[in-house]
């Protein structure tokens, strides 16, 4: 009974407890530097043992702790956000199933058992995207699951490749994989790219915003999409110095840039945040492919904190403005919902790396380390531009929706008196402010030595200030006759629509494959395959059967004679 009514509270308590336990274990692991690997032998069959392996080191435990704390907050938050929903319990169970498969994913160093969590993540996220049952959600869900399916298939192929090794513990084998394992590396990179929505597969992440906002906060911003990054972190030893690394760098930098560019043209509140997630994923993967997997993990964690917070704020706003997501309908929200708006501003500032917020520690370090390392000029350029664009769309979002004129309808009820929602944001709000510094003290007891020239050192700051100014200016933009962007309509459409990726990966792809399937069905399935396949064979066999059967229908004399004839034939044959 209690479970039914306040499932959100109970789950929150349990998850926070789990977070505490895993977090303190992670601290112990960091201190001792020990990695525990639990091998549970399910059974041993014909000399090959079937083992379920769990890895418990500081990376997995810390990640688990963050997943738990975010999912606890989100569950408590959805107690109010989803209140009154007909299938509230289903929602809760789905989110819990998500946490379960995330734990499977995080805790397994094994390519097969990681597939358990990996596939579970895909399935649960599909079920959550199509939670609101309408056509748009169904389409978005289909895009999501099919994009992710590509990665699942890549992992399956990787499992097939790794079977020659005798074990699937890629965590340990990755240290010994040279260029002859190129194919496996490519497969794992593809799977990471699909889960983390890197460029050819980016379209699903903004589409997945059809899910309820708590889901977006937990699944499509902070945890699920970082699964790809996590896989790459675990696999990073094998990426070291291979061609994959440089390819991943250019792809992730392009994703970062593309998403930042797209966010500036977007008017959908959730899609802006989704694109910023995409951009941050690009940041993580790019620093990873420069060889700093610990920095990528650092950014993954701090990003998870403030991005979940940002989405939860967006959820409150969407709730109170009456279901709108278009930021053109918002404005001057700061007067009505000061607490939410301050949370949102904190999260936004953390996102663009405002000094001493969570994002500052990770992002600034990433940028400076990237600038300091041997880096391709294009990658550097994309880094700088994407940093500017991040600040730009963040400021645009802040000023567009939170200040300015009040654009809502005359009948509206704005407040942030829903304490269930605002309270559950408080931990994450604290995390968005303090998370970065605490994490950096924890993870990097020795500082990174940064040695840059004055120009490069100031570059990030300059670009950010420039981006902030431009974002403020964009805030004034409204559709009118003087709008210059109408003259460059083509390029604006291209930049604003993620370089045409959503359309290319949905409409025409499905139409082409449907067309091909139709032709195949007409010519092959209902035609020649049937003629020379099932029906033809059956006809042939039946003919033979009738011949054979006709021998059976006759009298005893015939078959005795047949036996004699056969004996004679055989004799002649064998002579």
């Amino acid at each position: 009974m209690i479970w039914k009514i306040s499932m959100n509270e109970i789950s929150m308590l349990g998850l926070f407890l789990g977070s505490l336990i895993t977090g303190s274990l992670a601290l112990l692991k960091i201190k001792s530097g020990v990695m525990d690997v639990v091998e549970w032998e399910l059974f041993s069959l014909m000399g090959s043992s079937i083992v379920f392996t769990l890895v418990l080191d500081w990376i997995s435990l810390l990640f688990m702790s963050f997943v738990f704390v975010i999912s606890g907050s989100v569950l408590s938050y959805s107690g109010s956000y989803m209140a009154g929903d007909k299938t509230f319990n289903r929602f809760m169970y789905l989110v819990l199933a998500f946490v379960l498969s995330m734990s499977f994913m995080v805790l397994s160093p094994n390519l097969i058992s990681i597939l358990l969590g990996w596939d579970g993540l895909g399935l649960v996220s599909y079920a959550l995207v199509i939670y609101y049952q309408n056509e748009k959600s169904a389409n978005a869900g289909m895009l999501t699951i099919l994009s992710n399916r590509v990665g699942d298939v890549a992992i399956l192929l990787g499992i097939g490749l790794m079977s020659s090794l005798g074990s699937w513990n890629f965590l340990f084998y990755s240290y010994y994989m040279d260029e002859s394992w190129m194919l496996l590396k490519i497969f794992l990179m593809i799977s990471a790219m699909t889960k983390s929505a890197q460029i050819p597969f980016s379209a699903w992440l903004p589409a997945a915003m059809a899910a309820p906002t708590p889901v977006s906060a937990l699944v499509h911003s902070s945890t699920l999409v970082t699964a790809g990054v996590y896989l790459m972190i675990r696999f990073s030893a094998a990426l070291e110095g291979s061609m994959i690394q440089s390819f991943l760098l250019v792809i992730s930098c392009l994703t970062m840039f593309m998403a930042g560019l797209g966010a500036n043209f977007e008017y959908d509140l959730k899609k802006i945040i989704a694109l910023s997630t995409l951009s941050q994923l690009g940041v993580m993967l790019s620093i990873l492919s420069l060889g700093f997997s610990d920095l990528a993990f650092f950014h993954l964690l701090s990003h998870a904190l403030f991005k979940a917070l940002l989405f939860m704020c967006a959820g409150i706003i969407i709730h109170s403005v009456g279901g709108y997501q278009d930021i053109r309908f918002m404005g001057n929200l700061v007067k009505f919902m000061p607490l939410t708006v301050s949370y949102m501003t904190i999260a936004n500032l953390a996102l663009c790396g405002f000094p001493f917020m969570a994002g500052f520690y990770s992002k600034d370090m990433i940028l400076e380390v990237a600038f300091m390392s041997w880096i391709n000029f294009i990658a550097l350029l994309l880094y700088v531009m994407a940093t500017g664009l991040t600040v730009m769309y963040t400021f645009r979002l802040i000023f567009f929706s939170l200040t300015g004129e009040y654009n809502l309808g005359s009948l509206s009820n704005l407040s942030d008196e829903d304490f269930l929602m605002t309270n559950s944001m408080s931990i994450l709000g604290l995390g968005a402010i303090l998370g970065g510094s605490v994490l950096s003290w924890m993870l990097f007891p020795e500082c990174y030595m940064i040695c840059l020239s004055g120009v490069m050192k100031m570059m990030v700051l300059m670009v950010s200030i420039l981006g902030g100014l431009m974002g403020y200016i964009l805030n004034f933009m409204s559709v009118n006759y003087l709008l210059k962007s109408i003259y460059n309509y083509k390029s604006v459409v291209m930049m604003g629509s993620m370089w045409f990726m959503p359309l290319l990966s949905t409409l025409k792809l499905s139409e082409k494959s449907l067309n091909m399937g139709f032709q195949m069905e007409k010519v092959a399935d209902k035609g020649w395959f049937e003629f020379y396949g099932g029906q033809g064979l059956y006809y042939l066999f039946s003919q033979v059967f009738f011949i054979l059967n006709s021998l059976q229908l006759n009298s005893i004399k015939v078959f005795m004679k047949m036996s004699m004839v056969m004996i004679i034939i055989f004799m002649i044959l064998s002579m």
């Binding site: 054979l548 059976q552 005893i556 005795m560 055989f570 064998s574």
Partner: protein, 335 residues
């Protein structure tokens, strides 16, 4: 089940004949054993004096007598023509066995039998000729002949049973098909065919018990089965699939061993033929039970006199259990 006491007598002599011919060191002794076996099987067939059984007994007697004649004749020709006589001996044994080009009598005879008699014909009666053939696999000529017979029986067993509606005939063709595996195994390894034979007798026994307990003799009978016996609906398909050699069931394991054996000996062609024709047999096993599962004519269900399945329940339980989990049989030994 009631049967006269003479049944025991004849059954004992039947087994004696089989063991006599297996153990004898001369062809004459083997012949005596086969004759004893034949003459004690005839009364077992004709235990009920109905015309079908009598007809089957006569057909069986004629063919087996002919085969025995050829056997005793060729064994006495052994003196002057070694090769020739062995070829004839093999042929006569193949005839006794009912292997492919000499299989004509087999479905005809089995048509007139009841299920227990059919089971004896399908398993015990094959034991002696099989053993005798397995003694003959020493010259390449004979091996060629046995392989040829195996390939032919696989094809004929598969294609001949394709459209048949009578279950006993169908079991005969499936037995011809299974015989091809045994014959092929015989050319490679003396133990292998016996393993296959044991598996086969076990699985066909489990199918036959089910069919006997419901007194089913044709596919249409199966469809008219009492729908309340869902246990039959469950068990028969599983046992038939096992007979067809579908992987999770026990019937797959002898085939698996054989596939490995044949491919390691590079006998790819014969393996291919046998495997493909086994696929066709799987098709007609599927055809037996798919109408039974999918179609039902409840109005006809009263037409059949059904013995209770539970009379056979211990057998059923054991057979089905082993059929289902036989593939896991080695696991307890490997841990």
């Amino acid at each position: 089940m009631t049967f006269p006491i003479s049944y025991f007598l004849f059954f004992c002599t039947l087994l004696t004949g089989t063991s006599l011919s297996i153990c004898s060191s001369s062809w004459f002794g083997a012949w005596i054993g086969l004759e004893l076996n034949l003459l004690s099987f005839i009364p077992l067939i004709a235990i009920k004096l109905c015309p079908y059984a009598t007809e089957a007994a006569i057909k069986y007697f004629l063919i087996q007598a002919m085969a025995s004649t050829i056997l005793i004749m060729s064994s006495s020709m052994h003196m002057f023509s070694n090769d020739f006589s062995y070829i004839l001996i093999t042929l006569s044994l193949l005839l006794k066995l009912g292997a492919a080009p000499l299989h004509f009598w087999f479905p005809q005879v089995i048509e007139g039998l009841t299920w227990p008699q059919a089971f004896i014909l399908l398993t015990i009666q094959k034991l002696a000729p099989m053993f005798l053939i397995s003694y003959l696999t020493y010259s390449s000529n004979l091996i060629f002949m046995i392989t040829l017979a195996a390939i032919l029986s696989s094809l004929i067993g598969a294609l001949g049973g394709l459209n048949i509606m009578k279950l006993r005939k169908l079991m005969a063709f499936s037995s011809i098909n299974h015989m091809s595996w045994m014959l092929i195994a015989m050319t490679i390894n003396d133990m292998m065919w016996l393993t296959y034979f044991l598996f086969y007798s076990f699985i066909s026994g489990s199918v036959i018990i089910l069919l006997h307990s419901t007194q089913t003799y044709s596919i249409s009978n199966l469809m008219n089965q009492n729908k309340n016996s869902s246990i039959l609906n469950l068990l028969l398909p599983l046992n038939l699939l096992s007979l067809g050699g579908l992987p999770p069931f026990m019937g797959f394991s002898p085939k698996w061993i054989m596939i490995q054996l044949l491919s390691s000996k590079m006998m790819i062609f014969s393996l291919l033929v046998i495997l493909f024709s086994s696929l066709i047999t799987l098709y007609f096993y599927l055809r037996i039970f798919i109408p039974m599962i999918l179609l039902s004519f409840p109005s006809f269900s009263s037409l059949l006199k059904i013995k209770s399945l539970w009379a056979f329940s211990p057998f059923l339980a054991i057979f089905t259990f082993i059929n289902m989990f036989g593939l896991c049989l080695p696991i307890p030994f490997s841990i």
